[in-house]
């Protein structure tokens, strides 16, 4: 008997038979094949084992007859052995495979964002009302250290290296075409353009129809070099070298053959249906001096007109690594924390490797300042940026900007069922099945992205105004604007903030 058949499902599908009209809408809507008609009847049944609680059927049911609830079946578990542990063991005992997961870790690591509090002005200086006074969020991302040089008549010569101009300090994080669907990419590209910020191709290349949004596109070069060619590099506003990702430090990307179809395989320039497996390291980067060569190769290829970003996962010695990258010629460092999302990652890697973004960001910013090179690079933080307050805290810790992935997906309709790796996303986001992809309306998704970032930008301005700050650069690294609550001395020291009340 199959072990998994002897294990209770995670969810129960509760169908209110008084309301159900057996229209079969749920059968059509479920990407995971939960609902079906019992053969030869008009009766509906559910295979609860397949259910991931993506909420699609509940939302679509015309009579509100469906509800998905946690399985009430008692499962023997203890403080040491959770039901999830047991389920995973059963799954692996049966399959012999590596556990895969989608999205960010579900484990309960400390969320420092929620242990940091923001300051406000009272009496000794005035708060500033963003509805009545200018409030600036424009961010220049790149190297800002410059020589002061003058021409013959004493005028300053402006020779800053190329950089990215963001109207708000929020980027869309790298998510590849292939991991997410075409309409998602289109929505991100159009939203970035409308918002005056940037989205990131991830390692899946750039669909020819999206080249026109190139001025707001960061094109990624990852270890598999999928989809990288001359026009691709020239199409973007900047080039990102992806070394690592918070959800899976130390390993490469994996796109299942089933998702590698049609335009996706063409865009990646690999045969259709093959697994797109990018190597764990870049095989031309075995050390920091090799990174420098790739940075300058890409700069040569783009005639030094575009900034080069290097994205790394937050690992234990991230500060020293970032210092090395800052001296490699890179213009911007992106640090992705432990809790960052992914389309697919080995569960144990996702859940156990890396460090939280707050600590990594604070350590990197402090280290670059100690070495006097903080302004040699822009710094982007990502990995669980959940709201505008997280952004304010990240910038006060030292980031120039943040990147949002999961939040952007949620804005486009993601319900966080953590099943991206299956390719069966009922919402048309993390899937390439044409009948599911069709569900995502790029116009609507774009509008939601624009709304979200606009709303967050307004909130950032409110919070800045409350502190009496009217320009985002005066918030950057301004750690006195933060206080910690319930943190240990070591945590406070690393974050570089005082405890509340001090």
């Amino acid at each position: 008997m199959s072990l998994m058949n002897t294990f209770p499902s995670r969810f129960e599908v509760v169908r209110d038979m008084d309301k159900c009209i057996a229209c079969g809408r749920c059968v059509v809507e479920c990407g995971h094949g939960v609902h079906r008609f019992v053969k030869g009847t008009k009766k509906l049944a559910a295979d609860e084992r397949r259910c991931v609680n993506c909420y699609r059927c509940v939302a679509a049911c015309p009579t509100g007859a469906l509800k998905i609830i946690p399985n009430r079946q008692a499962v023997n578990e203890s403080s040491n052995w959770s039901a999830a542990n047991r389920r995973e063991i059963a799954l692996q005992a049966e399959s012999g495979g590596v556990l895969l997961s989608g999205m960010g870790t579900v484990k309960n690591y400390p969320l420092y964002w929620d242990k940091l509090l923001i300051n406000a002005a009272q009496v000794t200086n005035p708060s500033i009302d963003p509805l009545r006074e200018p409030m600036e969020t424009r961010t220049y991302l790149g190297r800002s250290a410059a020589e002061i040089r003058r021409d013959g008549s004493g005028r300053l010569i402006s020779d800053l290296p190329p950089h990215l101009t963001l109207e708000t300090p929020i980027l869309f994080a790298a998510m590849s075409y292939g991991a997410i669907s075409y309409p998602c990419h289109e929505a991100l590209a159009r939203a970035a353009t409308e918002l005056g910020t940037f989205y990131n191709t991830g390692e899946g290349g750039l669909h020819p129809d999206l080249y026109r949004y190139g001025a707001h596109t960061i094109v990624q070069v990852a270890s598999g070099r999928f989809g990288v060619h001359r026009r691709y590099l020239e199409a973007g506003a900047a080039v990102e070298i992806k070394i690592g990702q918070g959800a899976k430090p130390g390993i490469g990307g994996h796109l299942a053959g089933a998702k590698n179809v049609g335009d996706i395989s063409r865009t990646r320039m690999i045969p259709e249906g093959t697994d797109a497996i990018s190597p764990a390291p870049h095989h031309d980067i075995y050390s920091i001096e090799d990174l420098r060569q790739l940075v300058y190769s890409l700069k040569e290829a783009t005639r030094y007109e575009k900034p080069v970003l290097v994205k790394i996962a937050a690992v234990h010695n991230v500060a020293a690594i970032a210092s090395g990258i800052a001296r490699s010629g890179a213009d911007i460092i992106v640090i992705d924390g432990l809790r960052g999302g992914t389309g697919a990652a080995p569960t144990q890697t996702r859940d156990n490797v890396g460090i939280p973004i707050e600590l990594a960001l604070a350590a990197v910013d402090a280290r670059l300042r100690e070495e006097g090179i903080r302004n040699h690079v822009g710094l982007v933080a990502s990995g669980t940026i959940r709201n505008s307050a997280d952004i304010v805290k990240a910038i006060a810790l030292g980031a120039d900007a943040v990147a949002i992935g999961t939040a952007a997906l949620i804005a486009m309709g993601c319900h966080m069922c953590h099943s991206c790796h299956t390719g069966n996303c009922s919402w048309g986001i993390c899937t390439q099945r044409p009948e599911l992809v069709r569900r995502l309306d790029p116009d609507e998704a774009k509008a939601h992205l624009v709304n979200l970032v606009t709303a967050w930008t307004r909130e950032i301005k409110e919070l800045m105004g409350g502190m009496g700050i009217n320009s985002i650069e005066a918030l950057r690294g301004n750690r006195l604007m933060l206080r910690g609550v319930g943190l240990t001395d070591a945590e406070l020291r690393i974050l570089g903030v005082r405890h509340a009340g001090e």
């Binding site: 200086n125 006097g372 700050i469 950057r476």
Partner: protein
């Protein structure tokens, strides 16, 4: 209670400045009378003055004004000074006992030149050498604090109301071509003389009214370049920013003002191309030195004064002109007290640097 430097203390203030553009002298006593008018803008917890052109007899020597907590601090510091400088003259700074200025430290003045061989050996520019010596004393020698280190200028400060501090230092006995004065309203009582203003480094001195909300962003940036913000005051960090931008990076004072009180991007966009490019470059290159929050500052330097408000003009500051004389003050009343007949009274706009210099050769 923690003293200045161990904790950040917000404070409100009164400031006054005066300059004679023809190089004529202004008596320190005038400054005392002017700032006395704004008594209520201070709370007795700090007052101070900086005078320029007050030491003509030693104008080529660095004048160090130093507070000592006791004689052992003085001995340690003087040993250090002797190793690094040729001390031409040293004396107590003359003071008069004052009922409202108490707990005075030892206050000494040294006229010195860097020892040539020492200077040559460390391969530093002379001014950088002096800055490093000052930083070393102020950060590493307990009980010693250099509060003035320029040539032909000097700062005088104490805990107390500014008019009392002026009398204590007998400022009516000094004459200079330019002065700044400061009355402080800190929000607690550190009671430490070093925490009073002006804050001075080399010939730059800054008096400031306000509380900048960008403080820690500015501090953490400027500390990358060897400065140590030991007092945690706005005035200190602003002085370092000016020193960094003007002395070390070679910007003009006006360009430095465009960094510290940068115009809004929307304003920059409206400028003619050359100015737009310059302002954009300065904001991009030195974004972390933008000061936000309310401030009005007076920057004293050899040969002139600069007045600057934050870009929203959240602190009052007016300028009165009478012939070659220019007076700058938090309130017009202070100017009228010493110079009732003015040709012109005006308020500079937020972020607009008003720079006044003594005529060449005067």
């Amino acid at each position: 209670m923690q003293k200045e430097g161990q904790v950040r203390i917000p404070s409100g203030c009164a400031i006054v400045g005066a300059i004679d553009r023809s190089g004529g002298t202004i008596c320190g006593g005038d400054m005392v009378r002017a700032i006395a008018v704004m008594h209520d803008r201070s709370n007795g917890l700090g007052g101070g003055f900086a005078g320029y052109g007050i030491y003509p007899q030693y104008k080529d020597l660095y004048a160090f004004h130093i507070f000592y907590a006791g004689s052992s601090a003085k001995e340690t510091c003087e040993r250090f000074l002797e190793k690094h400088f040729d001390i031409v003259n040293l004396s107590k700074i003359p003071t008069s006992p004052h009922p409202r200025v108490t707990d005075a430290p030892l206050i000494w003045r040294y006229f010195m030149a860097p020892l040539p061989n020492k200077l040559a050996r460390c391969q530093l520019d002379e001014r950088e050498y002096v800055v490093r010596c000052v930083t070393r004393i102020n950060t590493q020698m307990k009980g010693a604090h250099v509060f003035s280190s320029g040539k032909n200028m000097g700062a005088f400060k104490a805990v107390g109301y500014p008019e009392d501090v002026g009398e204590f230092y007998r400022l009516d006995e000094y004459e200079g071509y330019a002065w700044t004065a400061h009355g402080r309203y800190p929000t607690n009582t550190p009671g430490w003389w070093g925490g009073a203003h002006p804050f001075a480094l080399l010939d730059y001195s800054v008096v400031h009214n306000g509380e900048i909300s960008s403080y820690d962003a500015n501090r953490r940036f400027i500390e990358m370049y060897g400065y140590k913000c030991t007092l945690q005051t706005d005035t200190e960090v602003i002085t370092y920013i000016i020193d960094y931008l003007v002395r070390r990076r070679g910007l003009t004072l006006e360009e430095a003002a465009n960094v510290m009180a940068a115009p809004f991007w929307t304003t920059i966009a409206q400028q003619e191309p050359e100015r737009r490019e310059r302002l954009t470059f300065l904001r991009q290159a030195f974004g972390s030195l933008l000061l936000t929050g309310p401030f009005s500052i007076l920057v004293g330097f050899t040969g002139g004064l600069m007045a600057l408000n934050d870009r929203l003009k959240l602190r009052s500051m007016v300028i009165g002109e009478a012939g070659s004389r220019v007076y700058i003050s938090s309130e017009e009343s202070a100017i009228r007290a010493v110079w009732p007949d003015l040709d012109r009274v005006w308020a500079p706009r937020g972020g607009e640097a008003a720079i006044f210099t003594v005529k060449e050769g005067a």
